[in-house]
Symmetry: C2
Subunit: 208 residues, 2 copies
Amino acid sequence: MAKILITSGPTRQYIDAVRYLTNASSGRMGRGLAAAALAAGNEVVIVSGPVEVEYPAGARVVWVVSTEEMLAVATAEFEACDGLIGAAAPCDYRPVHVEPGKIAKTGEPLQLNLVETDDVVATLGAKKQGRWVVGFALETEDHRLRALAKLERKHCDLMVSNGVEAMNAETNTVEVLTGAGQVVGRFTGPKDEVAQGILGVIHDRLIG
Amino acid sequence: MAKILITSGPTRQYIDAVRYLTNASSGRMGRGLAAAALAAGNEVVIVSGPVEVEYPAGARVVWVVSTEEMLAVATAEFEACDGLIGAAAPCDYRPVHVEPGKIAKTGEPLQLNLVETDDVVATLGAKKQGRWVVGFALETEDHRLRALAKLERKHCDLMVSNGVEAMNAETNTVEVLTGAGQVVGRFTGPKDEVAQGILGVIHDRLIG
């Protein structure tokens, strides 16, 4: 039994009082992972961006909006956890300037200056010490190669690689990769079942 | 009895294969307006962006993603309708260039060049001929003044003015304004009841 931190869902980076950058992450994979982790007897904390899914009652859920909030809460929660599953899709760009009101239309083009947000999994991976970290990589091409590069850069023990078609879908196809580039799991199907498969690999290799 | 077109929810403007600009419009006001319109014996067509709310079974719903799609579908549907209630919050900026893949992080700032999308209510208002058009104005300041300016610019018969706190909220406070600047309705409460109030004004003044 382990205490597992799961990040889930998208985050939002507001550009003004109304408009924001985000993605279609639904939180379904995070929900599936939480259910599988609880069923296997683990304790689960979920840090989630705004989603409509209902997380399992057995999990403690902390709601956040922005990537900065997700990072701050996840950093604090990670202290008392044995491992992290980074299933969220945090918005990784934020505007340099956030307009406090609503930007009024003028008919003219609008130039938006964005900078990268801090990477949640990479930041926690860099200070994981004895804890394990599992990341997710969502790519449109060179899935396996890019997933391995992310595994290394983010100090992950395992990386779950999936395609962009996974986003907001009911089903999913993933590969679970080790740092040596070995494929130690390949799962296709409804997200709940794929989540069970991933959790099984995590139990075998990291929780033991 | 009238045939009423209702636009509802947000739209999304993708900047690459994963990320998009949007807002937190929930579709609840559109749902409430549709329910009130159906209860009053009207026929209802809803053109909706991606939302989780369930629209009334009696309405025909056409789903869209982007503002361009919402405008195209609403333009076609408006032909056979008596009036439009523009309750949607279409994303009103789109990137000049949409990256077909997922923009890879480089550590460098990202400059996003946005242009305004065509305004759905203004475009339909300009060719309304004998039909009526009711718009919604969401403002963070000078609500009434800005709502009246929008009423005129978008060729609306009535404008519903509300504050940004309405977005994704369960309750709402609105004023219904005429072109003469007269406040002909003021409603506060759960969105379904506010929607009934607005529909009552529309019936009194436009459907008759």
